[in-house]
């Protein structure tokens, strides 16, 4: 157990280091950016005095290393300040957006992993069958088509032409705005269907292809014959094989979560889903840097957290892993 604790600490330290790097890079970017952040607001009516006062308010006159340390402290405490263009604090806005993004990502991730595993494992087990070939072919196609294009197509067909599903947004105005309220409202689910399915269609291909090749490798294992010799039924043997085939998936999920935000950002824009991604893009378009910074930072944190969890999960699932 000591080995595990040390490993955990090491990974946490690693993650911390990465966060620090990201924050520093962001800080440098903002500092090196051409132009003056106040320039957005400044117009000819501002006097030099007022400009200076604005700069002081934002701490822009302090020596850069003081700004840097203050920046780090704020970020670590999730104190993102106030957006340039809105009244609520950035942290409050972010909380909502994080929740909204999770409301799309989490169901999609779960469905992709669970169904992807089942389909992929079955495809690998029944190698050469029609099911396997169909599953592989479909996955290859879905993997290549850009998810935002699928999203656009889905919108065009199902929303505009057929009018089966709403064209965007998460819940209509005046609808529930608490987590559980949303989960309970059929409106949320109706709005989730299209973007969720598009996200799943992309994300599911990974587990399917991975489980399939993993299963193909496992099928050649000696212990499967032994299981048959023990008189176990085919069903139980498939379970054994799948348990073994799952191992690479855990590492893959870590990679998957890193790429997940890509699809998420695009789909949030297409379907006008009020999540972190959409917030980031809108903030950047309006040059609202506090919001943009916060959004990027939060996304990085979520990615790192998921990576770490996947890493540790791998150790839990494969008994052969030791922590040195």
């Amino acid at each position: 157990m000591g080995g595990f604790r040390r490993y955990l600490l090491r990974r946490l330290a690693q993650a911390g280091f990465v966060v620090w790097c990201i924050l520093t890079i962001m800080f440098l970017l903002f500092k090196l950016m051409p132009g003056d952040p106040t320039a957005i607001f400044v117009d000819n009516n501002f006097t030099e005095d007022m400009i200076q006062r604005q700069r002081m308010l934002w701490g822009l006159n302090d020596p850069w290393w003081v700004q840097y340390l203050r920046y780090l402290r704020n970020m670590l405490l999730f104190d993102f300040g106030h957006p340039f263009f809105q009244n609520e604090s950035v942290a409050e806005i972010m909380l909502d957006k994080v929740r909204n993004t999770c409301l799309m990502i989490v169901p999609a991730l779960l469905v992709s992993v669970v169904f992807g595993t089942l389909i992929g494992a079955y495809a690998g087990w029944t190698r050469g069958s029609v099911f396997e070939r169909a599953a592989v072919a479909t996955s290859l196609v879905l993997h290549s088509v850009p998810s935002f294009f699928v999203g656009i197509l889905a919108l065009m067909v199902f929303s505009y032409q057929l009018r089966w599903l709403p064209p965007g947004g998460m819940v209509p105005l005046g609808g529930p705005d608490t987590l559980w309220g949303m989960l309970a409202s059929p409106d949320y689910w109706k709005h989730l269907v299209l973007p969720g399915l598009v996200l799943v269609s992309r994300e599911i291909t990974g587990p399917i292809l991975l489980l399939r090749s993993s299963m193909l490798e496992v099928k050649g294992s000696d212990f499967l014959d032994m299981l048959r010799a023990k008189g176990l039924g085919e069903g139980r043997i498939v379970v054994h094989a799948t348990r073994n085939a799952l191992l690479p998936l855990v590492t893959y999920v870590a990679v998957m979560t890193g790429i997940l935000f890509q699809g998420q950002v695009l789909l949030e824009i297409i379907f006008a889903w009020p999540g972190l991604g959409r917030e980031l893009v809108q903030a950047l378009t309006h040059l609202d840097f506090p919001v943009a910074q916060a959004a990027l930072y939060l996304m990085a944190l979520v990615t790192l957290a998921l990576n770490l969890i996947a890493d540790l999960l791998y150790g839990a699932i494969d008994p052969r892993v030791t922590y040195e």
Binding site: V18, G128, F149, I152, L155, M156, I259, V265, M299, A300
Partner: protein, 285 residues
């Protein structure tokens, strides 16, 4: 990879043959763009009576119809292939070269060099690419060069890790010991003995790189952060989206999306066939 084996794989993977044909098609399209496209990428396709045909459906004159600004969609599609190929190739080659070098050095020398380089890759892995790229582009000027640089920055990490693992195992092989016993220096061993054995694997990542590069450029352009001077397929989709053309002008929306899909699919197929050559276990019996 010998000739007959290559044909063997193509025979077993008809999809790879199709992919190869598609790629040739796209390359031909890109190279012969000036000859094939009736209009320039930003040229308005004036009608015979000097009118601007806005959002015109496909016709004999405009095979894929026109945009809301009266530009010929077909021409834009053809010119877009140039951007796709450029971005794809440059970002793929760049990331593979960087990734391979880092992987080789890291794996071979080990020690603190390995540690430092691997820390760097860890950092790179922790950053969610698209949001980060958006921020960088928002700070600077959107340009194709910047996009390519960003993609290289994103892609090298995967190649580096894989090449490093491969180098680590190759390092212990007898032929390396023999070379060292014969007095070869580190760099000679690295480049004359190990690198050639690692290159086939690197090559596979060129395919991955092209796919990812093109997809990422398309994503960035679609969100409005692409290079406005390059008429890429992603930019086309962005224009269509912003003009609300999805409700009506399917001829504007479908071609760039389909082109993107076919391009990526073609590279993917070829890549998979190539992977099968490298790893015989994946071969169908």
């Amino acid at each position: 990879m010998t000739g007959p084996r290559f044909l063997d794989v193509l025979g077993r993977n008809p999809s790879a043959a199709v992919g190869l044909a598609l790629i040739c098609g796209f390359v031909a399209l890109a190279v012969a763009a000036p000859l094939i496209a009736p209009y320039g990428p930003f040229e308005v396709a004036f009608g015979p009576d000097r009118s601007v045909p806005r959002l015109a459906p496909p016709s004999a004159r405009n095979w894929f119809g026109t945009t809301n600004q009266g530009m010929d969609v077909f021409s834009q599609l053809v010119w877009g292939s140039r951007v796709a190929l450029t971005v794809g190739l440059l970002s793929a080659l760049g990331s593979v070269v960087v990734g391979t070098l880092i992987g080789l050095v890291s794996g071979y020398f080990g020690g603190w060099i390995d540690d430092v380089l691997m820390r760097l890759t860890d950092v790179a892995f922790g950053i969610p690419f698209l949001p980060f790229a958006l921020v960088v582009i928002a700070m600077a000027e959107p340009s194709l060069g910047l996009v390519i640089l960003l993609v290289i920055f994103f892609l090298w990490r995967t190649t580096a890790r894989v090449i490093r693992a491969q180098t680590l195992s190759l390092k212990e092989r007898p032929f390396v010991w023999a070379a060292r016993a014969a007095g070869a220096g580190h760099w000679a061993i690295l480049f004359r003995h190990i690198a050639p054995n690692v290159l086939p694997l690197s090559f596979l990542y060129v395919a991955v790189g092209v796919q990812t590069g093109v997809m990422l450029e398309a994503a960035l352009s679609f969100l409005g952060f692409g290079d406005p001077h390059a008429q890429s397929w992603g930019i086309m989709l962005n224009a269509a989206f912003r003009a609300g053309a999805m409700r009506t002008a399917w001829w504007w929306v479908l071609p760039p999306g389909v082109a993107l899909s076919l391009f990526v699919m073609a590279i993917f197929m070829v890549g998979r066939a190539y992977e099968e050559i490298l790893n015989p276990r994946l071969r169908a019996v």
